[in-house]
Structures are given as C-alpha cells and as structure tokens.
Amino acid sequence: MIATTQFMRRELTPEIPEGLLSAFEAIPENPTASALRFAAWQAFANRGIPQTSDEEYSFTSISEIKNLLSRIPGNHSGNGFAVTNADRLEQFPLTSSSTPEAMVSAWKKIASEEKDVASALAMALTPQSIALRLKAGKKLETPFPIVCKAKGSRTDAAMYLQLDAGSTAKISLASEVVREDYLNASASFYLGEKAELDLAQIDPIAGSQTLKLHFVLERGAKLRLLTASTGGRFQRLAIEVDLMGSDAEVDLRGAAVVGGVNRCHRHVVVRHHVPDCISRQLFKAVVLGSGRSSVDGTVIVDRGAQRTDAKQLLRHLMLSKEGKADSKPRLFIHADDVKCGHGATVGKMDPEQLFYLRSRGLDPEAAISLLTHAFLAEALDASALTDFREAARLRLLAALEETP
C-alpha cells in the first residue's frame, strides 16, 4: 500500500492536493477497509478536484466546491455515521474481518466506479466507515435513525447498507454540522430482490455538506426517498439510482425552503438499466431572501429498458426578487417503448389564492405560510416516516419565518 501511494506522490497535481494524500496515508491500515479506501482514492485521483465548471456542477459555484474539497480533514473521534440501536440491524465495522466478503466487494466496486469526486473522497478519507445489513425477509417496522456527526473543519464519512431479499426498513438520516464546518459524506444502499426501503434524509441546519446517496435496486425492489433541506452555507446532495432488476420502483421527493444567503443544490441521476421499472422524481423548493436553489435531474433509459415509466417534475416557488432558482430536467432515452415525462416550473405565489385567503381574514404571513405549506405538501406527505416528516415540515416552515 505504502509503495503505491509513493508512486502517487510523484503524480501530485493541483487537482490532487498533497494535503489530501497525506491525510489518506495517515489513516491506519487494515486489510478490509484499506482495499475499499484505496479503490475510492483511485476513483478520486482519476478525476481530481474539479477546476472548472462542468455539467455535473451546473448552477453550483465551482470555487466553493474546490475550496471545500481541498480542506484538510481533521481527525475527531466520534465523527462519522453512527447507529444507536444496532442490534436491529447487523453492523460490521470495516476494521473487522468478520464483514461478509460479498458486502465488502460490492462496496469496493461502487467505490472504484464512483464518478462523483466528493463521494470518492468521502470513501477514501473516512477514518471509520460502517457497513450495515438487514437479513433476508426481516422487517424493521419502527424507523431506524442513522446520524452522521461532523465536528471540526472537515469530516469525511461513508456507510453502506445492504437490504437482503424481501427485507423492509424505514430509515432516517440526519447530520450534525455547525456553521463553518464541512461534512463530506457518502452513503450507498443495496436493495436486494423485493426489498423495500423508506428513507428520509434531512440536511444539517447550518454549515456545508456534500452528500451522496447511491442506490442499487434489484428485481421488484422499492425505494421511497424524502429529502428535506433548508440549505446552508453550501449544501449539495447528489442522488444516484441504478435500477438493475425489472419491476423495481423508485420514488424520489424533495422539499426545501431556502432563505437568507443559504445554498441548496440537488443533483439527481436515475438510470433505468432494465425493462419494466418505474421512477418518479418530484422536487419542490421555496426560495426567499437571497437564497439559491438548484435541481439538476437526469433520467437515463438504457437501450433495452423497454416499458420504462419515468416521470420528473422540478418546481420552484419564488418568494423574493433576490433569490435564485435553477432547474434542469433531462431525459436520455435509448429505448423506444417508454413512457417518460418531465417538467420544470419556476413561479411566484398565485396572487388570487393569496387574496382569497386574505379576504377571509388571514394576515399575509399566515396566508403565505399556508400556501407554502400547500406547495410543499405533495413532496412531504408521501413519506412513511411520519414523525420525521412532521419534524421536517416544522423546520421548513420555521425557515420561512426566519427570512423577512
């Protein structure tokens, strides 16, 4: 291992800062984890830190990404992904040799093929990654919380969750980041045949975060995701879904209220590799103050993925002149028998609806809150994690009041 990184030292370029390589080398070696981390490092090194704006970072500030990704990681113990009640799932620290070989190699494959630079770095630089598994047929009825802690200027964290065939789970994912800090995290989910996952994720209340959520769905698997955000200094969520088995279904919904000077960016890629899958994307964001929101969503239908049913709707509600919203819905269809639709809207609050509510005695704040609530409801209401969803709703509506 050391020999290989020495080879890499000779390759150092501005795209691969020395500080990051040193941080990578400083993490203690361990046969299981190092193989994964090394694969991830190579995936990162193939591309390096982006220097100029490209498709993948449309609408986001490339200098901001560059600055964040070049930060030197700290080494706070207790950082990273953690589960509190692990006995309901099986948990394998990657420092242990008891981690099933198949899981490690599946994760390693994801790491080596990772094109998202931030995510590759998260997997390469994480001091302790966790791997979780839910056994075949097992059902987690009560929601299972996963929290990612990030203390210090920069934290890298990675996790992998495997849902074996026929298992079902409700999982919530939240991270704790403070003002100037930065969390770079990557979470991969494997849904075996007919496995079902209800995932609800909420961005941290402040600070900067780049988070990658990657999903692989086998035949008949179902994924429902709710992502909620009020933005932060810089927050970017990348979602990648690979539909690998037919009759799989994915429903992605995002709700955001981005005010103040907050940033919230979403980058979504759903790939239909096989026939007869369904995908839905519904992203709604309210922009106020000088907030900025962008949603960049892509659906790719591979050759042979016949009878694909893919829909995508990206909607922004603008409550201020200073705010900025961008959306880019894209479809790449390489099959001929498909049902695909997409749309994007950026609109203001309907003045007639507003007048109607006010004509019944609701003051402007209450009327705007009610209409915003209504706008977001469609995105929020579908999640089966009711408590988490209601907490997210409250936070989003509170963000509405914070910005005048």
């Binding site: 609806q353 509510l357 005695g361 009327a367």
Partner: protein, 249 residues
Amino acid sequence: MTAILDINELKAGLNGVEILKGISLCIQPGEVHAIMGPNGSGKSTLSKVVAGHPDYTVASGEILFHGEILTDIPPDARARKGIFLGFQYPVEIPGVNNSEFLRMAYNARRKEKGLEELDPFDFQELLADKMKLLDMDARFKDRGVNEGFSGGEKKRNEILQMAVLEPSLAILDETDSGLDVDALKIVSKGINALRKPDNAVLLITHYQRLLDYVQPDYVHVLAHGKILKSGKKDLAREVETRGYDWVTG
C-alpha cells in the same frame, strides 16, 4: 344610525383604466340590497374594491364601513372587521385543507372581536352544524379549498364560509349562478339566516330567481361603472322583463 356601508362618489379601476366611474351607495343595518347590471358593467370590480383587492386603485371618493374609511386598510383586516366577499369565481387552493383554513379564518375574526380562539374540537362541532344547515356532505371538510369542487359546490362552499364567519356585511357576487333549483333554496336559506338587524347583505345577481327567496329592500342597476337606477324590489322584475336597454337607454 351609522350605515354599515357608505360609498361616496367612488372612482376606481386597474392598470390605469377607470372601471367604476362615480358610485354612491348606502346600506343601513338590517338591509338587503341587490345590484344587477350587464356583463362587464363593473359589479365584480365594485365587490373587489370593497374587499380590498390589491390590484385595484381608488382614484377618488371613499368607502366607509361602520363609519371608518377603508382606503388604507388591507383586505385581511377588512375581513376581520366583518366584510365578507362571496366570489363569482372562487379559486381552487389544492393542499390547503378546507376546514383547517376555515378554522384559522374563524379564529382570526374572533381574535379581532377580543374573543378567545376556539379549539379544534369545538370548531368541528360548529362547522358540522353549519354544514348541516347547508346540506353539505362532511367529506368537503377534508378536501383542499375548492379543489375539484363543481361550480355549484364552490358556491355552496362560499356560503358555508359566510355562515361560519358571520360577517356584518356579506357581498355575494353571483352566488346564485350555476346553482340547481334545490341548491338555490338551500343557499337562500343560508343567506336569510345571516339576515339580522345589525347585518347587511349586498347581492350581485342577474336573476330574479334568487330575489324570490331572498327579498331585497333595494335594487340598483349598474351599467358602465355607474348606478343608473335604484328602486324597491319591483325594479328587479322590471329589469328582467324589459332588459337593460330600458335603463341604459
């Protein structure tokens, strides 16, 4: 006695176009007035100006409500003071729960009167009573405001809101249009229930039909932004038989 609504020489319009060209109208407590008039004459404009729609500007003249000049009062404050507008075309607001919204409106008005807010359970009871009065299915409570309501159902929902809010002035803009015979009777019952010595109603209508059930004290004919003729309830019948040309010349 102070009039409930006192409009003096009101000129108003929107986007620089004058639509109301000098309207005067005085409504005393306990009275029901009806306004008739050809399409485009300014009836809805008048109702929206009184309710305080922000798109309309008052060029001159004034509107007094219980003796208070309304000009600078925003629409929500006017509503809390007791002005209710039943819209000619009620908007649909998907995602805003009908009964939730009505409870907020009801409590906003109670707060204005210095009363305590009604808790959700008591409000549900009150709402159920009013819905029974208007023969409305309980399912309408849980739908989005006017979402997917038929034309007649929307009008009935307006009357439900009026019945709950108990305004001191109700302006009903063509609430009778689009109602079937039975619904018209029910809606009329709702309007008559509001008819009390200290309330007033302004009905905007094209048809005598409604006025058979809700008998007006005065009828006005509005044309080209002006009230051209006023009279007692017989004027409505006369207009219906002789047409507006008879008034506008």
